[in-house]
Symmetry: C2
Subunit: 416 residues, 2 copies
């Protein structure tokens, strides 16, 4: 066994062992631990900021972009944000122990009881505040977590994870419930995702290349989303003034995130009226159009095949004129990423056809794609958004970090 | 692309295409198709039985065991069983379209709507009736299915799958909704489980070696159980007469299945009273005991370390005397398979400690492990039992063959 392999197995074994105690921990005990963690992060914020300054210095020397450096940076305001998030997660209801489906088949009592998943491996990039969020969500849902952040934030994450582990210990919970992978090698990830039996779930968050690498090598279940290629379809029956506002909001409110709009499909019957109004309402957005779009908006750049698959994460929008709802659904089926896709329409038949046919984590009707968010859905903070179909779809919060077991309570019941 | 690879991709693409139409199919249409499938199987039963006779002949020539040949064989009674199962699945409620969690966060209506998963790859062994059961469960839950049965049943399965596809076509549903892998090569499985983007879920059912091979090579989510090493713990507070009956039922009612009892843990305080009574009640069962068991039941074979991990599927039971509930839980944590584990006790504190600490798909209290079954739980027929923790745990029926999507219904709602 290599040194790295021994390190990884040691982390995973320690997390597994700690997870046993978390299974039966009360919500109160978990909330006390979250408060203790917040105390430690507050106390240690000078050390955290100093560590972050070292990461930023290294990042500047390595030529990270301004956007990357901004994501990496911490300051008093962002530390306050971490503390607010910890308090918010403490206030969420604990899903563990919830009992549903109580019935009495064949003379015994059957319950479906919500339980922690066990050990979660969380792989992420850039923003150090994610370290605290992920640890808090896993702790509150009764899971041990192994945190593997980006190497550019290693020093900051190490310091935050240290504060978290001190907080756990202060609250009488084994510090090993939160493990921090303090090795920069990519191979550590490859080894971790192979730990079937020690790790129950992998959640990778970051660029598509990272997520593909994890999925290819994993022997442990993975929940992920590769990318968000979100569509809106403007039907002939749409309120066009409303449609302009919803498209603009979906595209420009925060273009760099996964639920931002990337593709627009417009019914041929309203394209000539709609597209000029839309272009005027968001002059800062570069349009890339199909031939019919170009006929309506001359001078627009022509979209190529790759444009229909692309996640721009930028002020760019590809536009295609379609002959109706079915063509829109077929386009989304072919090019979409099953993240968030919506229709703007007043015709009920078109709306219901679209909602039934489009197989995405979230389908929106007369609403911004940007609303697909755990916080806005009222589900609380999310550890990620899933475009997978198994276990969790869309925002993945506390409930999605749990599973269930069946409890049979009998009085000597036998199988006949 | 090899010939086999092209074949596999063709099957998966055809299934994916057929799955689009299944998404929006009504329960009535699906039930009519199940009836048409039953008609075709009835009509073609002479051909099915003739095909089965060829499989049996080949099996005898290949030296299959009597038990294997029994599992492989079809007769009029088993055909009637297939037809009864189709009628039963038609009578189940269709989970697709069920809406839950309706709320109005931030001024829009949010619904969680149950949808089919998409394309399911089902890999199984031996019994040809599973071909019809699996196709029916997937169809009723709106999924296309790719069926890959054991090579020993290839002729029978081909004939049954042909009847199913004729039934679908007769009911106006694309026959490609049910795909049959008509190639005996093991490599076909390796290629199929790599079809990410075409196949959404793999359910392997069979021996541990097959399931491990699938899990190692899969790029598609897998739901499985490797084995069922089920435990019962007899607490000092147990009603010993009831405990004898429950242990005997769990062990001998059908020893060859995954929810049969394999290990018994007995509290030291009652072992001397309980074990002789148990041994007398099931003289046909071979016991393998820990040293303390051997002291109570002299002449019993000594259990070795491997016995604690073994799934005998036979009239053998390993017995260990423990000092209490916590030691029993620790034993189950270490050696168990997370399938079905139970306690026999009247002490509420011991019962609740056991129920909270034991992390198995089903935990039983004063009841036979054999009760962990979709039919007995009132969930309907099951396509498998999961000892995984993601998506589905325990019996996996129609509901577990579906997922959900979020539907946002707004009136121009934007993200602030």
């Amino acid at each position: 066994m290599s040194d790295l392999q021994a390190y990884v197995v040691g982390l995973a074994d320690a997390a597994r062992k700690a997870s046993l105690g978390l299974r039966t921990l009360s919500a109160d005990a978990k909330n006390r631990a979250l408060a203790a963690i917040a105390d430690r992060i507050r106390e240690r914020s000078p050390a955290i900021l100093a560590a972050n300054a070292r990461d930023l210095e290294r990042g500047r020397a390595a030529g990270l972009s301004a956007a990357m450096l901004d994501r990496l940076g911490l300051d008093d305001r962002r530390i306050a944000g971490i503390l607010a998030s910890l308090a918010e997660i403490a206030a969420f209801e604990d899903p563990v122990g919830e009992t549903s489906g109580v019935r009495r088949p064949a003379g015994f009592t059957l319950q479906k009881v919500r339980t922690p998943i066990g050990v979660v491996l969380f792989i992420y990039e850039s923003r150090p505040n994610v370290t605290a969020d992920a640890a808090a969500l896993c702790l509150k849902s009764g899971n041990a977590v192994i945190l593997r952040g980006g190497s550019e934030a290693l020093t900051s994450n190490r310091e935050i994870a240290g504060a978290i582990r001190e907080g756990l210990a202060a609250a009488g919970i084994p510090a090993d419930a939160v493990q921090f992978v303090d090795r920069p090698e990519h191979e550590a990830i490859d080894l971790l995702v192979g730990q079937e039996g020690r790790i129950d779930l992998v959640i990778p968050r970051g660029g598509e290349a990272l997520i593909r690498r994890v999925t290819e090598r994993a022997r442990v279940p993975v929940i992920k989303h590769y990318k968000g290629v979100c569509h809106l379809y403007v039907d002939a029956s749409a309120d066009l003034a409303m449609a302009v506002k919803v498209v603009v909001n979906s595209k420009v409110q925060r273009p760099g995130v996964c639920n931002a709009l990337e593709k627009l499909l417009v019914h041929a019957g309203v394209a000539a009226a709609f597209l000029p109004a839309l272009a005027a309402a968001m002059p800062q957005v570069e349009l890339r159009g199909c031939p019919r779009t170009l006929a309506i908006l001359p001078g627009t750049r022509a979209a190529v095949e790759d444009d229909w698959y692309a996640e721009y994460l930028d002020l760019i929008l590809a536009v295609r004129v379609v002959d109706g709802c079915d063509e829109a659904c077929a386009h989304i089926e072919r090019y979409g990423s099953r993240h968030t896709d919506g229709i703007l329409a007043s015709d009920t038949a078109a709306i219901e056809r679209f909602v039934a046919a489009v197989d995405s984590a979230a389908v929106t009707v007369n609403a911004s794609t940007r609303l697909n968010d755990g916080g806005i859905f009222g589900l609380g903070a999310e550890i990620g958004i899933s475009t997978d179909k198994l276990h969790a779809r869309g925002p993945m919060g506390l409930r999605e970090l749990t599973t269930y077991k069946w409890v049979v309570r009998g009085s000597g019941n036998l199988r006949a």
